[in-house]
């Protein structure tokens, strides 16, 4: 196996991973504010891609404008999900809330192809097909742009956490009751987190949709996002960036090295293996805060 191929696989993997990271970012945001994982994140990414496609096809908007419109709509969708479904669950055990989001995932994942047709929809951002050479490594232009946008968005999110809104959300994450008593609107902070999570998911969904087409399989991003979120630490935004690159590189290398040996399909389980290994070795992730329950 020559080095150039490995380099290429690793670099492409890192870029792809960063796009997964965008989905994971939403999981981390929601976990930070409300303490539950959002298992609907994959389906929300898929729905974002479908909405982008709908704007591009039905309203005839240019694709990038359709993506912007979809991001706006999906922000509203995220907020609505929190308002209608999640808020009435406050005080219920975490498992119940988690299962509710999983139910939402099941519904969305089947409703979108069920209502809009299960054929793969094309989404074209007009990115040229010709690859870019960095040194002697060949990189797909779409991955480069997608990865760049994703990394930028994750960094923006990390910066956002030191703004007023970010401090507010961190306060809610730390202690909901205490935040309430100093006048922070806890519900609004959680709703904002859901809206932002939907935005990042939509961005990821649209980017992926432009590469592999829009179909229900976009919701499989959930497992990869979970792997990243757990590896980086469920409550760490910088962790997302590091873990996403790691997961992406692992996936790229595994696909390149193991696939020829066993005949394909490795890509789908790398994320699952990373979840299990992380739980075995370092359950709170690379940058996560260890939780100590006080009695």
């Amino acid at each position: 196996m020559d080095v150039a191929l490995l380099e290429e696989l690793a670099l492409t993997g890192a870029l792809v991973g960063t796009m997964y990271g965008l989905v994971a970012l939403g999981i981390v945001l929601i976990y930070k504010t409300s303490g539950t994982a959002n298992f609907a994140q994959g389906a929300i990414a898929m729905m974002g891609a479908y909405v982008t496609w709908a704007f591009a096809t039905w309203a005839g908007l240019p694709t990038w404008l359709a993506a912007v419109a979809a991001v706006t709509v999906m922000f509203g969708f995220g907020v609505l999900v929190e308002r209608i479904l999640l808020r009435r669950m406050i005080g219920q055990p975490v498992i119940m809330i988690l299962l509710l989001t999983f139910g939402l995932e099941v519904f969305l994942r089947s409703a979108a192809p069920g209502l809009l047709g299960s054929t793969i929809k094309r989404l074209d951002f007009g990115i040229p097909q010709a690859p870019v050479f960095i040194g002697d490594v060949l990189i797909n232009r779409a991955y480069l742009i997608g990865g760049g946008i994703s990394a930028a968005l994750i960094i923006v999110a990390a910066v956002l956490f030191s703004s007023r809104l970010g401090i507010l959300m961190r306060a809610v994450a730390d202690d909901q009751g205490a935040s309430w008593s100093v006048g922070i609107r806890v519900e609004r902070a959680i709703a904002t987190a859901w809206g932002l999570a939907a935005i990042t998911a939509t961005a990821a969904g649209a980017l992926w949709g432009s590469m592999q087409g829009v179909s229900w399989s976009l919701s499989l991003l959930l497992v990869k996002a979970l792997a990243i979120a757990i590896l980086g630490g469920l409550d760490s935004v910088p962790g997302v960036l590091v873990a996403s690159a790691f997961v992406g590189v692992c996936e790229g290398l595994a696909t390149g090295i193991i696939d020829p040996l066993i005949g394909g399909g490795t890509r789908d389980i790398v994320a699952s293996v990373i979840i299990i290994v992380t739980l075995l070795v370092r359950p709170y992730g690379l940058f996560g805060q260890e939780q100590i329950e006080r009695i």
Partner: protein, 358 residues
Amino acid sequence: MMFYRRSGILHLDYRSERQLWPLRFDRFLVATVIALLLAAPLIVNRLYLVAYLVPWLIWSSATLGLNLLMGWAGQVHLGYGAVMAIGAYTSVHLVRFGAPLELAMLAGGVASAAIGVVFGAAALRIKSLYLAMATIAMQYIIDFAIIHLPGVSGGVLASIQVPPVRFLGLQIEGDLSAYYMAFFVCAMIALFLLNVDRTAFGRALAAVRERDFAAEIIGIDTFKYKLLAFWASSFIGGVVGCVLVVCYLRTVSPDQFHLDLSIQILAMVLLGGLGSVLGSFFGAGLVLFTPIVLNVVIGAAAVRFGFQIDADLKAHLPLMLYGTLIVAFLSIEPLGLAKVYGNVRNYFLLWPFRTART
């Protein structure tokens, strides 16, 4: 409607107070249902027996197994289909090697439990949230392993035929013997779960479910009991996986145990009611039969009002329905159909009075 009569029931010793169904009417109901199920092959059409009753019994058994973990121990499992797959493949391979079915079935259960615990153990040390992730990862890894290990699946697209088997002296060949075998296993599992509450194990699980660190303080080894519940639940899953292939599917192939099966059983537990034996049967019935009924209704409506149903929509309708039902039940009636039945029963316990005199 004063069937659920409580008057005249006086417990004179602990034994009578702790019996499973203190109310005469409840005992009567249970006996009727068991009698009806035993006589079902004589009553209902053979087609209904195979297409509805057998799957209902098998899926109810699986629901009971998952419910032990989710309802009794308060943990979560999103990859129960994979657990059943391990049991199914283990037992079928053993039977093909000439092992008796009873032994193969138990071995399937043990294999499921052993492999399942490997995945669960890491996550059980931490919060339930992590268990959800570990089990969903398990689903994908087991799927992958089964497909890619030719020794297990017999190749990517292969399916393995179940050879002729005997179960407790009964030759499993026709629909009838398969029905009675499924009934027997289901009854055993239900009996076990009905009695779990009356054991130290069951009470420990209840404590763990309600608040695990409080349980730790009163001297319950939380991790041990979570692990035991996980083990027992996976064991049942493996056994049911074996029953599923022997009595219903007759051949085993990797695509029967995908995430869809896990979602289906999860929905059964949630809709039926966490921690309820009766609810598990309700939930399995609701989840299995609603898509069929809905399909018939929509089909009839399509003919009546002359519109076309999209094939895509038809294919995705069951999952849409499960998703909707999970979300609706969790937000409106988190304890499921068992609670709905319980409300009705409580109403009639006091009828014609509205509330008990306090």
